[in-house]
């Protein structure tokens, strides 16, 4: 009996080594409602009707902890979340690199445009409050975003209203950046509705919102992306250059859109290697 107990103890410890913690984002109801009330649905890693926004925290082992955290915004056109290959899988990779990966299950806007950023702001506030406990440096908390999640990430990187809400760096995977001509129309309609005003369109076209305080970024995408035109990333990179912000951009010749952490992406290994090198150069 004692042996069984010991075995169980070791087994549980082993599992606990790379454990994740799930945290509800809001103690009560969030300030802004998106009006969605249907049941949350998880179809094979694609989540729609997020009703309870939450964080899944993957902390690295203390022996390899580099004091860096990344809040991850999965993609899905602002209508759902591809939370596995653009969320958990990326968080686990970061964890293996000694970096805290924090998957943000954010609420869909449902044309209430402030909602996703509201969830991110809550997330970064929470992470900064935990930074001493998790042994994360307060100037090494970044954001990552895939596709529409990249729009959220670039919005967060250009619309922060205080130092605490500013991500320290951005990792953008085939991001939607603009709400203008070369946008992803589905994402735009889901965020801004079918007839946004010119000023709303400008405000959420993040290539137009870059300034000297915008954090450094790395952009990773494919040339043959027909869902979200590479022009989005090019426009953001160009705006960063105009403001003398360090930036890196890798436009792979193939892969299309949405490859995330899939290892059948031809440049999967090269992409991770280049990202890893970039993370090391961030005066980290």
């Amino acid at each position: 009996m004692k042996n069984l107990f010991l075995i169980l103890f070791f087994l549980l410890s082993a599992i606990g080594m790379n454990a994740q913690t799930v945290v509800k984002l809001w103690e009560t109801t969030p300030p802004t409602s998106n009006g969605l009330s249907e049941t949350e649905l998880n179809e094979d890693g694609r989540i729609s009707n997020v009703s309870v926004p939450e964080l899944t925290v993957y902390l690295p082992d203390s022996t390899v902890n580099r004091g860096i955290a990344v809040i991850i915004c999965p993609g899905g056109g602002y209508t759902r979340l591809a939370i596995d290959h653009e969320g958990h899988d990326f968080a686990k990779w970061l964890q293996s690199q000694g970096i805290a990966g924090i998957v943000l299950k954010y609420r869909m806007p449902n044309k209430v445009k402030q909602v996703p950023l509201e969830d991110f702001n809550q997330a970064i506030t929470y992470v900064r409050s935990k930074a001493p406990l998790w042994k994360i440096s307060n100037d090494k908390i970044g954001i990552a975003g895939f596709s529409a999640g990249g729009h959220l990430a670039s919005t967060a990187s250009t619309h922060f209203s205080s130092k605490e809400l500013r991500p320290d760096f951005s990792i953008l995977f085939y991001p939607v950046i603009t709400m203008g001509d070369f946008t992803h129309e589905g994402s735009r309609n889901n965020l801004l509705g079918d007839t946004p005003t010119a000023s709303e369109t400008m405000y959420y076209s993040n290539e137009r919102q870059v300034n000297e305080f915008t954090p450094p970024a790395i952009l990773l995408l494919s040339d043959d992306d027909t869902a979200v035109p590479p022009k989005n990333s090019v426009a953001y990179y160009t705006a960063l250059k105009e403001n003398k912000i360090p930036a890196t951009m890798y436009i792979f010749p193939s892969g299309g859109h949405g490859w995330g952490m899939r290892n059948d992406f031809e440049y999967h290994n090269e992409m991770l290697s280049l990202l890893s090198l970039w993370l090391r150069t961030l005066s980290l």
Binding site: T248, M249, P253, S273, W278, T281
Partner: protein, 278 residues
């Protein structure tokens, strides 16, 4: 005696494995004059002959701000590396313009004609001849990618490889590249005709571009402008903007991304150019 013959044979074989031809681009004199005494030359590095299949080739234009031709790394070293990848590397030591703008382009045109007409002799597939350029040589290569010519022989490169290229002449770069080609007061027409981003059409060849974000000699925006123009015209491309490295790092092993840059180029060559034809 027998040992001596064996020795000679061994020497001959080891020399010919890395054989290199060189020839003058204009053996009978160039049609244009730059007022200088330099001569255009080609240096040919052929891959080891593996089978009957003809190889692709790259015409390489080293950099130097149109005031010199930095052929060591941005010419010969790159050509040798290409040869190890099964691609013929042909270094063009072009004549300096000395403000005679047609001169380097005349040399590149003639070089391309020579390569395509002599392709059999060098075991080269005339349908897979690309161009590469570094810095000002990248300007030459990018502009050349978009040139039309009424020559009988096809001069359009099948693909292009650009390293930290000068692209646009609408802003003057540090090293005087534009001035050395077009003089101190070029006309607006000259500026636009030699700004490669303005020349791109749907017929521009597939292009891969490498540059560093912190390049203070030729800003990365040149590369990005060219990539943008390629996208406007649906031309397949790849663009790699490394975080560091500054300018002129081509084929220098201490460049932090040396291995990555060649690995990415190799992958691109494999899918663009080295897949088996016919």
């Amino acid at each position: 005696m027998k040992k001596f013959i064996v020795f000679i044979l061994v020497v001959f074989v080891s020399v010919s494995v890395h054989s290199q031809d060189s020839l003058k681009v204009w053996p009978n004199g160039a049609p244009s004059d730059n007022g200088l005494t330099d001569e255009a030359e080609l240096f040919i590095y052929l891959p080891e002959k593996k089978d009957s299949q003809k190889t692709p080739a790259v015409l390489i234009c080293p950099g130097g701000g149109y005031a010199g031709v930095s052929a060591v790394y941005e010419g010969h070293a790159f050509a040798k590396w290409l040869a190890t990848q099964g691609v013929a590397g042909i270094v063009l030591k072009y004549r300096l313009p000395n403000q005679h703008k047609e001169v380097p382009f005349d040399d590149a045109l003639e070089a391309m004609s020579i390569i395509r007409s002599d392709s059999d002799e060098w075991h080269i597939d005339a349908n897979r001849v690309g161009i590469a350029g570094f810095s000002a040589g990248g300007h030459l290569a990018a502009v050349f990618s978009n040139l039309n010519s009424n020559r009988d022989i096809n001069i359009r490169p099948d693909f292009a490889i650009l390293f930290y290229p000068v692209i646009s002449f609408e802003k003057v770069t540090k090293g005087g590249t534009r001035t050395n080609l077009l003089g101190k007061t070029p006309s607006a027409n000259e500026i636009y005709s030699f700004s490669a981003d303005r020349l791109v059409t749907k017929n521009t060849p597939p292009t891969i571009i490498f540059v560093s974000d912190n390049d203070s000699s030729v800003p990365s925006t040149h590369s990005v402008m060219y990539y943008d123009a390629l996208k406007e015209n649906d031309v397949p491309a790849a663009l790699y903007v490394f975080p560091e490295g500054e300018h002129g790092w081509g084929m220098i092993k201490s460049f932090k991304y040396y291995d990555e840059s060649l690995s990415l180029l190799k992958m691109w060559l494999n899918t663009t150019v080295l897949t088996s034809y016919n």
